[in-house]
């Protein structure tokens, strides 16, 4: 199956290991992955901050870049949500778009991806995956099938981490208060790794944990699913 990757600007720039992991995972599952190099940003930041016209231009750019593909996959619930749920609100129709866990479970029909990840992991479901896309327990089903992985439940998992794009800047104190509670929940699990399907939320919670020198590592779901005994996950170095 041929599938195009929307890496997202954040992952492309800051978290390339996640996008590489998506490529590895999907190829392992028999997909032919394309990465159209003309892609940039889906326009979510502009849209969510109130810059409609800019967001609309970026939406149109997206549709040009991805028009030839039957399936587009993004390792991000919020960017996938932008394309699938918000573009139509702006009068822009895009083709089929899947968040990674949806694509693997629903389109490829796989829950055991043959991964190996011998760590204690807790999972933050991220608001847009959960409520905008409705991915439900698909990420958890994927994680439960990973060999060696010990999944610990995150208390108050469905609460927002306080990122919210420019919200984290415009209402920095409120965002930090939300982050503080989320970090407490993460630390309470005793997990070594915090995973999520969205690098933006992971960057937020991870940024807070890093400030605390908490030692919990933020790792995108894709990197866990890509990890195998032959080629195990290694903490990315810049």
């Amino acid at each position: 199956m041929k599938v195009a990757l929307l890496a997202t600007c954040l992952t492309d720039t800051f978290f390339p290991s996640t996008a590489r992991a998506v490529v590895r995972l999907l190829e392992r599952l028999g997909c032919e992955v394309a990465f159209p190099l003309d892609q940039t940003c889906c326009g979510q930041m502009h849209f969510n901050t109130g810059y409609r016209n800019d967001a609309e231009s970026l939406a149109r750019k997206y549709t040009e870049v991805f028009s030839g593909y039957d399936h587009v996959v993004a390792p991000s619930g919020s960017c996938a949500g932008m394309v699938r749920e918000i573009y139509p609100e702006m009068g822009v129709s895009a083709g089929p778009m899947y968040e990674l866990s949806e694509f693997v479970v629903d389109v490829l029909g796989v829950t055991d991806v043959g991964a190996w990840f011998p760590h204690r992991v807790t999972y933050h479901p991220t608001c847009h995956s959960l409520r905008m896309l409705g991915v439900g327990d698909k990420p958890l089903r994927l994680l439960r099938a990973v060999r060696g992985l010990e999944l610990v439940e995150l208390p108050a998992a469905t609460s927002c981490c306080g990122f919210g794009g420019t919200f984290a800047i415009k209402n920095a104190e409120t965002s930090t208060a939300m982050l503080t509670d989320k970090m407490k929940c993460v630390l309470d699990t005793g997990a070594e790794v915090l995973s999520a399907g969205d690098n933006s939320c992971l960057m937020h919670i991870g940024g807070g944990l890093s400030r605390l020198r908490a030692g919990v590592r933020p790792v995108h779901l894709a990197e866990i699913l890509a990890s195998t005994e032959e080629e195990p996950w290694a903490h990315a170095t810049p």
Partner: protein, 474 residues
């Protein structure tokens, strides 16, 4: 026009500023966390009992959309039905007009004191202050409203205006203002309120209420409550004045079957609230002999004219969105500068004010991380995140050129071309040289807002696209 809409409190700071102060109040945060935590769990249980909840929500949404699509006809129908049953209908374009009518009616009834049932509409128009200025004292009879009134405080929640107060703070207010000695046991506090208000109920000749629903085809008005203060006000006085937003209609009596199931479970997490009163005009020998219904616009018709924003008029004031909101839980209701706090306030207040040049109004749509928990629980399916981003666009337009708009335009220009984007990416990647141990702990403004509490990962030397180009060609 020209007079300010009292839906926002005069002199309130913008949301981020007010929130900053509220966040520093640890007692407030504790109170809110406890109360919202309690009600969230209970609401979820009350809703889980219903196998048809989503169908009820869809029906609630559809009925309210129908109301909005033929509001003129339905209001005229309501007016006819109420008039035919001995009631008098008044129309008020704004707060000042509504307040004048209530004051005139109170004076005509020869009273200088009215008892009040908790009502958002009368809070929105600042009725108590307007009556006071006209020499008429308004006595709040709902327990939480009484706590706010006796504490010279402001409301912070739609359903429980004193949610920011815990039991011992309430005891202190009661002891100070009622001159009594009482413990902080909720049952004893409730008993104190009962004794304090009893004589008022028995002797006051005019009552003012709001309305949860009005049935257009029968002229019936519906008020849901818990304590019995509503029944007291709706039954004992000679004159009853009801102030109701024009959107509070349902077309038929049958439509209530949807809302009487949606509202209590969403609001107090009960299968049914203790008391619901329904009356139609005047019933000789039972209840008030004089009934006045004031139909209030106060920004609603302007809201109705906005094709995205009008869904806020479906709101039935249950406050479920407040209770699940992670922002509300931390900042409390007063940070929103209005009687309508929380997610619904963030979309309703600016629309009722109708002026995005007002700094408070323009800040409210940003008082959300867009997590969507509000939409999930809303019994009439108001897509609050959708309206929030819609209003953000209005706020941006009203502001014109700002540092932010210039930065956003620059970012859009960069993203418009893959080669510009890639050059910016390479330039940005140089930031890794200011990183230590793979993290950046301090950035200049506005990045400092981020690094005040979080590190930034050092950008890697190689972006994904460079890796792709090297390893996969194109």
């Amino acid at each position: 026009m020209g007079t300010r809409n009292p839906v926002t409190w005069l002199g309130s700071p913008t949301f981020p500023k007010a929130a900053r102060e509220a966040l520093a109040d640890t007692q407030l945060r504790q109170n809110l966390r406890k109360a919202t935590g309690t009600i969230r769990g209970r609401r979820a249980a009350a809703v889980a009992e219903m196998t048809d909840w989503e169908n009820l929500r869809l029906a609630g949404e559809a009925i309210k959309n129908d109301v909005l699509s033929r509001l003129d006809t339905l209001l005229v129908q309501l007016e006819e039905a109420v008039t035919a049953r001995g009631g008098v209908v008044h129309w008020a374009r704004d707060a000042a007009e509504a307040n004048e009518i209530v004051l005139r009616l109170a004076r005509e009834a020869g009273t200088d004191e009215v008892v009040k049932v908790k009502s958002m509409a009368t809070a929105e128009i600042g009725l108590n202050e307007a009556l006071e200025a006209g020499g008429v004292k308004a006595i709040e009879t709902d327990l939480a409203e009484l706590i706010v009134q006796l504490g010279d405080d402001r409301p912070s929640h739609i359903l429980v205006p004193a949610i920011h107060r815990n039991r011992s703070e309430i005891r202190d207010i009661f002891q100070r203002r009622m001159g009594i000695s009482v413990s902080d046991e909720p049952a004893e506090l409730a008993e104190a309120a009962r004794r304090y208000l009893r004589q008022k109920f028995l002797t006051t000749r005019v009552a003012v209420s709001g309305a949860n629903f009005a049935v257009a085809d029968t002229g019936s008005i519906v008020v849901l409550e818990s304590e019995g203060n509503g029944r007291m006000c709706l039954t004992l006085p000679e004159t009853l004045i009801t102030v109701m937003g024009i959107e509070k209609l349902v077309p038929t009596w049958q439509d209530l079957e949807v809302f009487l199931q949606l509202l209590p479970r969403s609001s107090t997490a009960e299968r049914m609230n203790p008391y619901t009163s329904v009356w139609t005009g005047v019933t000789p020998g039972d209840g008030p002999s004089s009934f006045h219904l004031i139909l209030l616009d106060n920004g609603r018709t302007a809201t109705l004219a906005d094709s995205v924003g009008r869904q806020a008029l479906r709101c039935i004031r249950c406050s479920a969105c407040l209770n699940v909101c992670p922002v509300y839980e931390r900042t409390g209701g007063k940070s929103y500068g209005s009687v309508y706090p929380g997610p619904i306030g963030a979309i309703l207040t600016p629309q009722l004010v109708g002026d995005m040049h007002d700094p408070l109004s323009a800040s409210l749509p940003y008082a959300s991380s867009l997590c969507g928990a509000c939409f999930e629980v809303c019994p009439v399916r108001i897509d609050i995140p959708q309206v929030l981003t819609h209003l953000r666009a209005e706020a941006v337009e009203a502001k014109g050129r700002t540092a932010e708009s210039i930065a956003m335009a620059a970012a859009a220009w960069v993203f418009a071309s893959a080669s510009r984007y890639e050059r910016a990416q390479k330039l940005g990647s140089l930031a890794r040289f200011i990183a230590r141990d793979g993290r950046i702990t301090s950035l200049p403004w506005p990045g400092s807002k981020w690094t005040s509490s979080r590190d930034v990962p050092a950008p890697p030397a190689e972006s994904f696209r460079s890796w792709w180009r090297k390893n996969r060609g194109s």
